[in-house]
Symmetry: C2
Amino acid sequence: MVRDVGISEVGPRDGLQMLKGIMPTEKKKAWISALAASGLPEIEVSSFVPPKLLPQMADAAEIVAFALTLPGLHVAALAPNAKGAARAIEAGAHKITLPLSVSRSHSLANVRKTPDEMVDEVRQSTRLRDASPSRPAIEVGLSTAFGCTIEGTVAESEVVRLAIAAVEAGADEVGLADTTGMANPEQIKRVIAGVRREIGDRLTGVHLHNTFGLGLANALAAYEAGLRAFDSSQAGLGGCPYAPGASGNIVTEDLVYMFESMGVRTGIDLWKLMAGRRILADAFPDEPLYGYVPAAGLPKNFRPAA
Amino acid sequence: MVRDVGISEVGPRDGLQMLKGIMPTEKKKAWISALAASGLPEIEVSSFVPPKLLPQMADAAEIVAFALTLPGLHVAALAPNAKGAARAIEAGAHKITLPLSVSRSHSLANVRKTPDEMVDEVRQSTRLRDASPSRPAIEVGLSTAFGCTIEGTVAESEVVRLAIAAVEAGADEVGLADTTGMANPEQIKRVIAGVRREIGDRLTGVHLHNTFGLGLANALAAYEAGLRAFDSSQAGLGGCPYAPGASGNIVTEDLVYMFESMGVRTGIDLWKLMAGRRILADAFPDEPLYGYVPAAGLPKNFRPAA
């Protein structure tokens, strides 16, 4: 399987944590199986947060264990701190993402820690990684890297500073997250260039939201700027409970369509991917499912990238 | 007023022709006034088609005459053939756009003429232009330039051939229209480069639809490829009655937001522009109005391009 870009599906984590209903564990497994069967190389399957805070994620360890049985799938999980990272390592996740919010206000609201206190959590997590037999990859996702609904503008110098701090704390990868959808394509290219100047190819990908409609334009800009890893969510589920108004990850179906139509290989079968929506529609009949391509159907001239 | 890009609002033509209801002439004037007051440099205000085919456009001459009274506004109108162009010239439009569909099937369905028969209509229209005292600009809009819902793929060599034919027939400007929303950013850049190689800066702009969600990504690609003129429609109204499933121009509000947030000056006041939606909402309470920025509100970090 040759891929030009790697798409990481975050719906089972970023999507489900935003819904009021709880998806039963068996349905999650069916959905994750369908997503994996479409050729998605990586799925962020759950989040190791205290179950009393996010009961939707109480089955994190069981879900990770199940996902590890799916052939070829890279199993990612989120952990908000070192305690969560320890649980994720124990569960056997291949990759653990720690969110590190560049905006101090958002960081305090989201994880009750300052950005620099979160750097300490990253450091503790990478020590746990080094002491573990499985040595999963630790990714730091720099949240609110392009704007904050509380603070407004986020200083690009802070994005760069915290990217360096994350790498110095031992992170294998750093991602830039537009948690609030406030990024624009020019800014995407500028921030990527600025961060890459300092940490090189430790900067791997972007996590984009579509709040103001620029999600795919921003993905295109990040691709043109040289990044090859993209988070997205089936049917655009997701958002951030502590960033009011910031709803909707970019839609996996539309992102895959954009890349494939451009001749950029994702390794994902769009028809199989769209079949996965049925499980979501059955599980959450009252939730809106987003996506232009699923609504319009694939155009007559569509050919997957060869 | 310094502008880096010119946005042409096509809602009063492309939007209204798709709606079943007819907007009363006085409401059209109020809407066009509000659009012009936001700083839009150009509005395609109507279409000179036989009123029995499109009763929504029966007041074309009166609307053009009204639009000509708005200070600084470039008044554009569509004409499907030389007969319509004659009426548009007589009405005093500054610019007349003739659609020339690259897909033979779409051309026959839309104007009952082959693409080459339409080139003859362009030639007759430019002769009328040359004989008129006002000498309006004649633009040829190459419809279905990126794909056709009937034929599927449209040959890029045909796009280039018809662009050359349009210029040889006397067109002042050529635009590329993604009537069906089937374009992708890579194709946008490739086709622009191919057409520009032959007709240089006679290629001025793009007319994009958002059917498959790539509208703004395609606009970004066209901007990066050097084009500076963009059609769009307030609230995303519009489509093509003879291209089934091809609904929705790109949304003017979101396009302006993208450019302004990137630091690209449109000369348009987004707050005033969004006020224009109220007239539409009042006139068509049952029509969906699209747009992410109008739905989410402008983000806290937004600053118009300086």
